[in-house]
């Protein structure tokens, strides 16, 4: 049952990622990325990271991608052809390297079959993550607030007219 869920999420993620690559219009690519994020949310829940799964939807899918969508719509972007490598030697080299990567992945999956993700109570509940974040990792947490402030200032200054 769990394997069926994992396979459906994983296949959705990979097919949607391929769509991000194949689609010509950036809007369609952004929507395909939305599907990837949804599938990854499912994978996070399977791994027991409940807090991160929901935070991923809120931040990545609900804020970052909406920002992408706004920019694409406001700038009225057109569809474009992808760039193909003109030198034929690299196009010929791509196939064996892709096969090599595929062989490595198959080897990884076959040989390390007996290392399962431990089942049991999940460790990614909000309380645990919050406690870690505010005790052990308090300094990085405060620094990220400064990072976000700098990003906001930077975006406002850069995109201002005149």
């Amino acid at each position: 049952m769990e394997r069926a869920l994992f396979l459906s999420f994983a296949l959705t993620a990979i097919v949607a990622a391929l769509n991000v690559l194949w689609r010509r219009h950036p809007l369609h690519s952004a929507l395909a990325l939305l599907v990837v994020l949804g599938a990854l949310t499912g994978l996070y829940i399977l791994l027991g990271a409940y807090f991160l799964a929901v935070v991923q939807v809120i931040i990545y899918a609900g804020a970052i991608l909406v920002l992408f969508l706004f920019v694409i719509m406001l700038l009225n972007i057109r569809a474009e052809e992808a760039r193909l490598e003109r030198r034929p030697i690299f196009r010929w080299l791509a196939v064996p390297f892709a096969l090599l990567l595929g062989a490595e992945i198959v080897y990884l999956v076959r040989v390390f079959e007996e290392n399962p993700i431990p089942s049991g109570t999940s460790i990614g509940v909000t309380e645990a993550v919050g406690r870690e974040l505010f005790t052990t990792y308090l300094l990085p947490f405060e620094i990220t607030s400064i990072v976000i402030l700098i990003a906001i200032l930077g975006a406002v200054v850069l995109a201002r007219r005149g």
Binding site: V57, A61, V66, F70, M73
Partner: protein, 338 residues
């Protein structure tokens, strides 16, 4: 296996009740608007107009589905679904009542109790933006695009206040699980005032939540993006028949979900006198409290004029957001003191 059957039955029951109620909510809105405006609402179809939703449903099903000439027909068809599905998914975590004994087993009157329930609801409201933005884009019309972008900007602005106003409730209840939040509001102070969050110590949070919720659901006085006199009909100008019905239902589903959420977070959910002995009474209390919010929504629509768009944005960012932050600071201080 038992768990799956129980969940499926609960989902079917909840969806049946909710969808029927949403159809009648449209009728009640028209009736109540009529009464406030000193006229009868629809009263021709069936006694007291009670068959009006059925007539509307048949009209929507048989109407011609007009499609604009758009380079994105798939997006055009998918956008209403993207708006409707997150609105309906919110009912999976809302607690309608406590656990009851039925057919010899203990059944909880909520579909599921997720330990990140409140964050799940915010994730869904974030996803609701996509339906609107894509509808505006795929309609290939300037009114739709402007209405869609304005509506989406309004949604993401007020989503901040909505989320922050609830943090006070979290601090007080100590859990993200909606069932736990309702349980934390059982009992009374001095035997008289119920321990609901709206009385102590979240009246400001409640006010902020409700105002932000009215803005989130695109209702008067925040409905400029879909007002008829401004932008024809905003992002759903080009939609007709079934797709428009989906947007329509999605809007009412959002209103009902937000009212149920306000009841759960601030008004004690299913709590009320005598719920410990008879848990089914909890459903009645929950329905009554939600009905109060629905009435306030309709009342607001009948009485208030609408904000201009820049007034709306200024109000959201310069008034509500600082108040939401102040509410968090106050709640934290109260949690330490009390």
């Amino acid at each position: 296996m038992d768990v799956v059957v129980e969940a499926v039955v609960k989902i079917v029951v909840v969806f049946g009740i909710v969808l029927t109620f949403l159809a009648y909510l449209a009728l009640f809105e028209r009736k109540i608007l009529g009464w406030i405006q000193l006229r009868y609402g629809p009263n021709r179809v069936g006694p007291w107009g009670l068959l009006q939703p059925l007539a509307d449903l048949l009209k929507f099903l048989f109407k011609e589905d007009v499609r604009p000439m758009t380079p994105n027909p798939l997006l055009f068809s998918v956008a209403p679904i993207l708006s409707l599905v997150p609105a309906l998914m919110t009912y999976a975590v809302i607690p309608f009542g406590d656990r009851i004994e039925l057919f010899g087993r203990e059944i909880a009157l909520y579909i599921t109790s997720v330990n990140v329930g409140l964050l799940y609801l915010f994730a869904l409201s974030g996803l609701g933006v996509y339906g609107i933005v894509l509808a505006g884009w795929a309609s290939n019309s300037k009114y739709s695009l402007l209405g869609g972008l304005r509506s989406a900007a309004q949604l993401i602005s007020y989503e901040l206040t909505l989320t922050l106003s609830v943090v006070g409730v979290l601090i007080q209840a100590g859990s993200l699980d909606l069932v736990e939040i309702v349980r934390a509001q059982s009992g009374t102070y001095f035997g008289l005032i119920p321990k609901w969050h709206v009385f102590w110590y979240q009246p400001l949070g409640f006010l902020l939540f409700f105002i932000a919720a009215v803005a989130e659901t695109n209702r008067v006085p925040f409905d400029l993006p879909e007002a008829e006199t401004e932008l024809v009909a905003g992002y759903h100008t080009e939609y007709s028949a079934t797709k428009f019905a989906m947007f329509y239902v999605a809007e009412y589903a959002n209103i009902l979900a937000v009212s149920a959420l306000a009841t759960t977070l601030f008004l004690g959910g299913w709590n009320g006198p005598g719920v410990e002995r008879m848990p089914l009474l909890g459903v009645f209390y929950f329905a009554a409290k939600t009905a109060i919010f629905l009435f306030i929504y309709i009342w607001l629509r009948a009485t208030l004029p609408r904000f201009r768009y820049d007034q709306l944005m200024r109000f959201g960012w310069k008034v509500l957001l600082p108040l939401a932050f102040a509410n968090i600071v106050l709640s934290s201080a109260m949690a330490v003191i009390a």
